[in-house]
């Protein structure tokens, strides 16, 4: 293993010149304290001085492991949960906080949010970033709302690229990747710097398909899924322009777009509908940053950001009932931020405010209050008590036109025991705004269904035109634009009006304590982090009962799809069938865990790293395993595996070649359905990677990787809205082996 100082040299060299000279040979992020991160404090600090539990993936690891996608890397980090969904989509979260459409972590691209403005979650498929441009991925585990506002509930994932660094990556590069299952990727990159301005561009065409068909626990193909083609192809383009005025002022502008064709979209696939076709996503992101160093002690940054997520579905995304019905979801937000920084020696301040205007429009949302304004103000003080002790104190105030006021404080202390050893302790409160959930649940509440599901209306109208009972219902659906829906009481023949309450959800809140210790030396690392958190005001969907009791009978239309949907939406009529609704459950979820990391260079060529995450997450009184009479109560919520572990063996077969072996293990966990409180056990998963990287010279390298997968695909809410039958939850398993070869070339 290189010495610490040599690691430093190589590391800095990589950041500054790696792209130009083909010297992307950074030290392993856990080998030394020289790696800097900025997601934890909004400015660069050495990773071992971070006031929180942090893990990092570097460019070197990405090159050496040659992954098919980013979540393959993230799952190697302790305390990070990665769960595979259908269609190659993932949910990524930290410290046992995962969920479907996860908006409990904030994903940043170079410090800027890239979440879907409707749901608040991040679609990993739609990230406007090229794999080859990533310098590092910082995962900050634990509450971070004090810095990043709502939804930085359980952590932040900051993807740092070289896109705004034309001086360091001048020249042209190409990467070509081929793999099985139709994997193909071609990336072209370029950068130029002239005197006081420069640009970079990245362009990637990428196609991939899901791996083998899903199988059930007996190895048999999962019904339905095999019939759905499952692949995507996309084009990612970014253009970044920098302009300097002297050494104090810089303007950075970036435009990026992702054009993604999915077969099908993950939404349609989850409904397990053979009629589901495909969708086209377009993600557009435009940012402008103006930085000015006022003096040697003060600087100011202004950021303007516009994100737009537009999806065109070939079929109705909720039902897929009408093949020729095209629907569009179009969500966008504009965010402005003004930030100041002051360095007063022992005390350093970061302070500022943001304003975000969100506009959601389309198939999921169609109502008057679809625009949301959110404002935050924040301040952060880092104070150096003495050479060994430093504290961070942060506070963010939040106001949303939809969710009202909230706040997030944060305190942490870092004590340096020796140059190689630190301990840290922290506490923070964070919150998760329910906007995504609130919006998403509305289509499933009867009151808003007529406006949210045009495909349903069309199909239902056709199918039910002859039904004397349901015609009035359709009329009510057509006429109602609010929450008022009238039903016909068959006993009297008169309409029975009733009102469904508008969703009124509070933010989820989380308190977390954490304690960490780490020791780094030239040849080894040992790191321990413990945490305990409690989440209150949890939002879940639960039975609310008898909402549809006025409807006393139901005449099947004969169209199984429509009938099935009505059963799912209204309950199995006749009346008094529980309906479901999202609400604050009043329950408290507790999470206690520990992450252990160790690494040691056995020789100059061989290094061994391993990490283990042990966690216990409880949510008493809510879930049961299975449904119906045989259901067993459990206090274990879904997506919270008690054990995760990784073993990474890296062998340098000379200066130019590296062989890396990775084994990932996730213990048996539970999955869930979004529409009821039942959970379902899934077996342990094992993923093994073997990757070989060879640098032919400074300009050419070849990466080869083989991945052996036994992984779960979570059923999510498939069964509850499976309109074709009353199937039990459908999940499945990938049992597969894939390969990938990537050729990198610099010109």
């Amino acid at each position: 293993m290189p010495s610490k100082t040599l690691s430093l040299s190589i590391l800095i060299l990589t950041g500054a010149l790696g792209a130009q000279r083909g010297l992307a040979q950074a030290a392993s992020p856990e080998e030394g304290s020289e790696v800097e991160i900025q997601g934890a404090t909004k400015h660069p600090i050495p990773v071992d001085q971070a006031p929180q539990n942090v893990s990092v993936i570097t460019r070197r690891q990405i090159r050496e492991l040659n992954p098919r996608d980013l979540p393959d890397l993230l799952q190697l980090l302790p305390g990070v949960d990665v769960f595979r969904k259908q269609s190659g989509e993932f949910e990524v979260s930290t410290l046992g906080s995962n969920r479907d459409y996860n908006n409990r972590v904030v994903v940043l691209l170079d410090g800027k949010p890239v979440m879907n403005p409707l749901f608040g979650y991040t679609s990993w498929r739609q990230l406007p970033v090229v794999l080859e441009s990533i310098e590092r991925i910082e995962v900050i585990k634990g509450p971070s709302s004090a810095q990043y506002g709502a939804n930085a509930f359980a952590g932040v994932i900051n993807i740092v690229t070289d896109q705004s660094d034309p001086l360091s990556r001048e020249g042209k590069q190409s990467s070509t990747a081929l793999g099985d299952r139709g994997y193909f990727s071609q990336t072209l990159r370029g950068a130029e710097w002239k005197n006081d301005h420069g640009y970079t561009f990245d362009l990637r065409y990428w196609k991939d398909s899901e791996r083998s068909p899903l199988v059930d626990t007996n190895g048999a193909a999962v019904p339905g899924f095999g019939a759905i083609p499952d692949s995507f192809e996309k084009l990612i383009g970014t253009f970044d322009y920098e302009k300097d005025w002297g050494t104090k002022t810089r303007l950075s502008m970036r435009a990026s777009q992702v054009q993604n064709n999915s077969h099908p979209t993950d939404v349609t696939s989850q409904f397990n509908l053979p009629g589901a076709s495909h969708a086209r996503d377009r993600t557009f992101m435009l940012t402008a940053d103006l930085f000015h160093e006022i003096s040697s002690r003060r600087a100011v940054l202004f950021r303007a950001q516009y994100n737009r997520y537009r999806t065109e579905f070939d079929t109705d995304p909720l039902l897929g009932l009408v093949d020729d019905t095209k629907t569009v979801e179009d969500d966008q937000f504009l965010e402005l931020e003004l930030q100041g920084r002051s360095d007063l020696g022992k005390s350093k301040y970061v302070y500022g405010g943001t304003f975000r205007h969100t506009l959601n429009d389309g198939v999921f949302i169609d109502r008057p209050d679809e625009q949301v304004n959110t404002e935050t103000v924040y301040g952060q003080l880092e104070y150096q008590f003495d050479k060994s002790n430093e504290g961070l104190f942060g506070l963010l105030l939040y106001n949303s036109s939809q969710n009202g006021f909230d706040y997030s404080p944060k305190v942490s202390l870092v004590h340096t025991l020796s140059p190689n050893e630190v301990v840290r302790a922290g506490w923070g409160r964070s919150f998760r705004a329910p906007e995504g959930v609130a919006y998403f649940l509305e289509p499933f509440e009867f009151a808003s269904m007529q406006t949210s599901v045009p495909g349903f209306q069309d199909a239902a109208r056709q199918a039910l035109a002859g039904s004397p009972l349901l015609n009035p219902v359709l009329a009510a659906l057509d006429s109602s634009r609010g929450n008022l829906v009238s039903f016909v009481d068959p006993a009297t023949g008169q309409p029975v009006p009733f009102t469904l309450p508008k969703t009124d959800l509070k933010n989820e809140a989380l308190h977390q304590f954490d304690l960490g210790w780490e020791r780094r030396k030239k040849r080894y690392l040992f790191k321990v982090d413990l945490w305990h958190s409690e989440s209150s005001d949890l939002i879940f969907v639960t039975p609310t009962g008898k909402l549809l009791s006025p409807v006393a009978s139901f005449t099947p239309s004969g169209n199984s799809a429509v009938d099935g949907f009505l059963r799912a939406a209204f309950g199995s009529l006749p009346p008094s069938v529980p309906q479901t609704q999202f609400h604050n459950t009043g329950l408290v979820q507790k999470s206690t865990g520990i992450t252990l990391e160790g690494g040691r260079s056995i020789s100059s060529r061989l290094r061994l790293d391993a990490n283990v995450t042990l966690q216990r997450v409880t949510l008493p009184g809510f879930f049961s395993i299975g449904a119906g009479a045989g259901a067993l109560p459990t206090d274990r919520p879904p997506f919270t595996p008690p054990i995760q572990a990784n073993v990474i063996v890296r062998y340098g077969t000379g200066a130019k070649s590296t062989l890396t072996s990775v084994t990932h293990y996730t213990a048996s966990t539970l999955s869930s359905s979004i529409l009821d409180p039942h959970v379902f056990p899934l077996p342990a998963t094992v993923i093994e990677d073997l990757a070989f990287l060879h640098d032919f010279d400074r300009n050419t390298s070849l990466s080869l990787s083989v991945q052996n997968v036994f992984d779960t695909v979570h059923p999510e809410f498939i069964h509850s809205l499976d309109i074709s039958s009353a199937n039990p939850p459908i999940g499945g398993f990938l049992q597969d082996r894939t390969w990938l070869a990537t050729l990198h070339r610099r010109f």
Partner: protein
């Protein structure tokens, strides 16, 4: 008067320009051979290493140096930057905290590493003991 000026001119020139070969020399500031920069002053080099400029004589340069604690680094910090290594580190820590887009000088561990880097990378600038300044690089400034 004219004769006096002529007499003093070479001396003034010698003081203002790089130390000539054969004189007492401790540190040689070097650039890549492809870098069209014949000479530089101490003030130029200082400003560059502190991130106050991006180049010398309109030529963008990328400074490289040494990790703290190496003798030549200590000497350079004192003679050129007029600060200690700790002050230099604090200077760049502060710039990074503020968000400066200027890059801190790349730090190497050894003299051969610096010389090799400068010899290979156009636009780079570094410093080595004068005895190490050979034909693979161009010396633009010598410091006693």
């Amino acid at each position: 008067m004219v004769r006096l000026s002529c007499l003093w001119a070479p001396l003034l020139l010698a003081l203002a320009s790089p130390t000539v070969a054969g004189e007492d020399c401790a540190i040689a500031v070097i650039v890549n051979l492809q870098t069209a920069l014949p000479s530089a002053s101490v003030a130029d080099v200082r400003a560059l290493y502190l991130g106050e400029t991006t180049g010398i004589q309109s030529k963008n340069l990328r400074p490289v140096g040494y990790v703290a604690g190496t003798p030549i680094r200590t000497l350079f910090d004192t003679a050129v930057l007029d600060m200690t290594s700790e002050q230099f580190a604090e200077h760049w820590r502060s710039k990074r905290f503020l968000g400066s887009f200027q890059k801190q000088p790349i730090a190497f561990k050894s003299v051969p590493a610096v010389k090799k880097f400068v010899a290979e990378v156009e636009g780079s600038i570094g410093f080595v003991p004068c005895s190490e300044a050979d034909a693979s690089v161009r010396t633009i400034l010598k410091l006693p």
